[in-house]
Symmetry: C2
Subunit: 216 residues, 2 copies
DNA sequence: TATTTTTCGTTACAAGTTCTAACGCAACGG
DNA sequence: CCGTTGCGTTAGAACTTGTAACGAAAAATA
């Protein structure tokens, strides 16, 4: 009987510990932000001392990169789940908002302040393309009645980012609007820039979503 | 003759050194991000050793708070300058974009990933209100022809954030749209999420601005 | 002018952090 | 059974923020 799923016991243990490390890392990030992530603190929580973690991650940067990867993966899965019943921009929007509110720091790990030197590895940008593809599917399925926009034409001329997706210029423009507008509301809300202002952020989010889906 | 501007020589020197410290801090932040800001490195650059900086700033947090304050102040001044020739949403938008591109990390210091525990002091939120007031001025001066939005009505019922500004519900809604949409484009552009996609971010920014100013 | 007081910059040190190196032990594979 | 591989340890280097104590210089005061 070939080992289905269960590899060598050594490797099983290894992935188990790696998962536990990431678990603690997410807890720290959620409570104190990514910049306060401490390998020593994680090790202490796991009952082992300091440098043991370097058997599992080359360093702080690699751990954070791994967390960013998982965050992208999680968002991509959430998007896939939201479009399982067919392409639907509203479903995607609400899935995005729920995912973001579920762990704001995870959202900021992807869309927050970038580290000047950092460049994401290729497999992460591949997941980002996956997310964009799901969004483009939904945008392509939404009928456009208005006239083509000048920026839509520009996008049609520079559509390598669509990665071969057969979306109309209007759909390309809609995807970018969806992304930037919802991110605009979400990131300001999650960062607390609306707290104390009195209005309900989810209504603003919904208003932007309505404008995105009903018009043009 | 009373000393106009020139205080005691001691205090003059003090403010001079404080300014020099902040200068170096901005340089570090621009090149490596705020999380990499090192008091020791700044001290070494200024030719004095380590703990001397604590005569001028209580610690890293106070220095960063001061930088955040200066960033807000700078943005408020930029907005004031942009509306000197009268309230103009487009002028405000381009001023914002120029200011953001001028030092992306300064933009992220205000609108980037928040530190979970941090709460800005009152005088900083006061500057934020000042910025919002200038934006509301421009929005109130822009004529609205379309029907009142439901979210505009909601904003009219929760308008304490307008701080007594006599803006119409449509103007309130427009201000929020202006803020969130332009931030959406700008933050993603500055974070590099558009690099390699092929299109020109300034055209997307302009398209969003056009939508903001011509419609409704 | 002389004396007191305030402020500044220094060194020394404590308590953290990431990360490398060398060692011993335990478990896995042949 | 025994060798190889991998894991966790401690020691230590090179950093960081921040405190404490000291000396010197400058400013304020008598």
């Amino acid at each position: 009987m070939a080992q289905t799923g269960t590899k060598a016991p050594r490797e099983r243990y290894r992935t188990q510990v790696r998962a536990e490390i990431k678990e603690r890392a997410w807890e720290q990030i959620a409570t104190a932000g990514a910049s306060a992530l401490s390998l020593n603190a994680i090790a202490k929580q796991l009952g082992m001392s300091g440098p043991a973690l370097y058997r599992y991650f080359a360093g702080r940067d690699e751990l954070i990169t791994e967390l960013i990867r998982d965050a992208y993966r999680s968002l991509a899965d959430t998007f896939h789940a939201a479009s399982e019943t067919g392409p639907d921009l509203a479903a995607l929007a609400h899935a995005l908002r729920g995912w973001a509110l579920d762990d704001p720091q995870r959202y900021f790990l992807i869309y927050g302040t970038p580290v000047p030197g950092y460049h994401a590895p290729d497999d992460i940008t591949a997941i980002a393309s996956e997310i964009m593809a799901t969004l483009l599917d939904a945008c392509a399925a939404t009928p456009s009645d208005g006239p083509a926009t000048p920026f839509g034409a520009h996008l049609d001329e520079h559509r390598q980012w669509a990665d071969g997706h057969p979306a109309s210029p209007a759909a390309l423009h809609r995807a970018l609007r969806f992304w930037t507008r919802l991110h605009g509301v979400l990131s300001l809300e999650l960062a607390g820039h609306f707290t104390g202002m009195g209005f309900y952020p989810e209504l603003l989010f919904q208003a932007e979503l309505d404008d995105l889906t009903t018009k043009r």
